[in-house]
Amino acid sequence: MYCKSCNVYVETHTLVCPLCKKNLIEDNTQEVVNYPSIKKISSIRKLIRRIVLAVCLSAIIICTMINLLTFNGSYWTTIVDVGCLAVILMFQFSMRKWVRLGKTLFSGTLCIIILLIAIDMFAYKEKVSSASWSLNYTMPLILAGSLITSTVFLFFGDLFFSEFYNHAITLSVLNILTLLRINKTDVIWPIFVSASLGIVVIMMMLFIFKEKLFEQFKRKFHA
């Protein structure tokens, strides 16, 4: 095709000139499909994400309204709100596939911890330490479970070590920090499990993975 107005030959499959948008004259120029055209991709992932977001936001709004309208001294809606936000955040991270596995695991753990703290703060009108299952049992054991998972990946070679070592260290510190609750609860065995696991992993990092760890710090600090 040829454009009389621009004096150029047009190789793209089109009836009008891509430059001036005037009609083309047929000639012997070979037309080729140069570039792929936009196809509407039915993004199921996007749709699911939107549905989850809509459901969670609706739940937050409805529960908050009910809580405020029938207020009896307890902000129980906080559990729903934090839970829904945790679902949204976890969903957001888990959609990113393997490349952010370490981050996904870490952020998921943090979301659950925040949810557990919210449950502890708002679920019981009268605080009974043994009834506070969320912080007494679940939090230390979730932290321990997450730390074990992160630590296992450290043995899978350099590729996973560089992705998991910082999460393993942070989770170890969080596990050790559960000791701060030792005076606030009668149930101390989960705290001991969690804290001792944190110490073991830190020791393991310092003795088994010392060189790798030093190398990673060198990179992080550009030393």
């Binding site: 621009c6 080729v32 792929p36 550009h222």
Partner: protein, 425 residues
């Protein structure tokens, strides 16, 4: 990048890109090779797998440090992909298994799309030639490379290929560098579908060279002059009142000035500036461009720019500044300062060299850069007797492209135009 110590600092030019890149300012370019037959994806995948470890500076993932980003060798699977309509799309470091480049196929075309933080077009061409060479070998063609012009499977990565040549050639002297003035920026209607509009013009190389010689200038100077003229006429036609000069930012391949073999970034920029006056003709533009060449395209001026860039990187204040603060500062600073210094960018990679046995299988090549949020991007590449000039844009209006290609045609060149028709989406 040795196996034992597999990490790499970003080079001086590459350091800025991760901070300023975003979806509508991707800093991604594409080099395409058009072969004489349809691409077989499985063979292409094998060719890439074979060469992945020969090019350790390309197949990396970017990691976040405390003060800077850095690269690590990426051991995840690299997959070649079929091209989509979104050319030179933003390379998210958390997608594509962490790789910052894509190797794409479409019909008879193999393309390499690369985030500029990894390398410049010269480096990408070397990777592209190696992939095409290996691909043809795997197809069963017997290729000969007498002068070792292509990097091949089996050879070890050289240290010279992964050095930061900016750092190597920094001499610490404080020199007066050229400071570009604020330039006129082309405004227009943004596309409905986010992406890059592309128009490519194909001309015969010998005809273009003869035409440039007729005006007593080089091909790059000639194309730059025609480009500036097109923008000038666009302003005139639309009666745009503007006192700012028109400016083309032109990357300069520094390898030939410093005898460098690096496959990483080693380009600097010069600015071709034209003050807006009434009744400018093509020769006026050529004269202005030649003057800019004389002022800026010499080793002293380039060394001054290199030193100034390195001095910024070497300052203790910047070194000790945490990464998130650097990101914030760069995002604000870059848009305010560097974003408004050029009306258009023009990058001429020149003629693709290689063994005859390889070039015989390549019909032509294409070089495209993602359009910047504030300006058009144009690229030139030659292969055999075919020169392709691409212009990418982020606005719907095609006035500059129309003016540019129709003027080339009016000067006697036979211009074949193709487009991705993005404005129709």
């Amino acid at each position: 990048m040795e196996n034992k110590n597999r990490w790499l600092r970003l080079d001086n030019a590459g350091k800025i890109f991760p901070y300023v890149s975003k979806k509508n300012f991707a800093n991604v370019f594409r080099i395409s090779f058009y072969l004489k037959e349809t691409i077989k994806p499985d063979i292409l995948q094998n060719a890439v797998d074979d060469l992945k470890y020969r090019f350790p500076t390309f197949f990396v993932k970017m990691r976040t440090g405390i003060f800077w980003y850095y690269y690590e060798v990426n051991e995840r699977k690299f997959e070649v992909k079929k091209e989509t309509a979104f050319l030179c799309s933003y390379k998210n470091k958390n997608k594509n298994n962490g790789y910052l480049l894509d190797i794409l196929y479409y019909q008879n075309r193999i393309s390499i799309e690369m985030f500029h933080a990894i390398s410049d077009a010269t480096g990408a061409i070397e990777l592209g030639k190696a992939i095409v060479y290996r691909y043809l070998e795997l197809l069963g063609y017997k290729l000969e490379d007498e002068f070792n012009e292509v990097i091949k499977i089996g050879s070890e990565p050289k240290l010279n290929e992964s050095v930061d040549s900016f750092f190597e050639n920094y001499n610490g002297e404080k020199l007066n560098r050229f400071k570009a003035p604020k330039a006129y920026l082309i405004k227009g209607t943004k596309f409905f579908a986010p992406g890059n509009g592309l128009v490519v013009g194909r001309v015969k190389s010998d005809e273009l060279v003869n035409l440039a010689h007729k005006y007593d200038c080089t091909v790059t100077q000639f194309i730059s002059a025609v480009m500036l003229r097109s923008i000038y006429l666009y302003m005139k036609r639309h009666q745009i009142k503007n006192t700012l000069p028109l400016s083309i930012v032109l990357p300069v391949n520094m390898r030939k000035y410093y005898n460098s073999e690096t496959l990483r970034n080693f380009s600097l920029y010069i600015y071709l500036i034209q003050q807006v006056k009434p009744n400018l003709e093509l020769n006026d533009f050529i004269e202005s461009i030649k003057k800019c060449y004389d002022e800026q395209l010499n080793i002293d001026s380039l060394q001054a720019t290199l030193n100034a860039n390195m001095q910024i990187e070497s300052s203790y204040a910047l070194k000790l500044c945490p990464l998130f603060l650097k990101m914030l500062a760069c995002k604000i600073g870059y848009n305010k300062v560097a974003g408004g210094l050029s009306t258009i960018s023009l990058s001429n990679i020149g003629l693709i060299n290689g063994p005859k046995s390889l070039l015989n299988h390549i019909e032509n090549a294409e070089f495209i850069a993602a359009g910047a949020s504030t300006s058009h991007s144009s690229c030139v590449i030659s292969c055999g007797n075919v020169t392709k000039i691409s212009i990418t844009r982020v606005i719907q209006e095609l006035d500059i492209e129309k003016e540019f290609f129709s003027y080339l045609a009016s000067l006697g060149l036979e211009v074949f135009v193709s487009s991705n028709l993005w404005e129709e989406n």
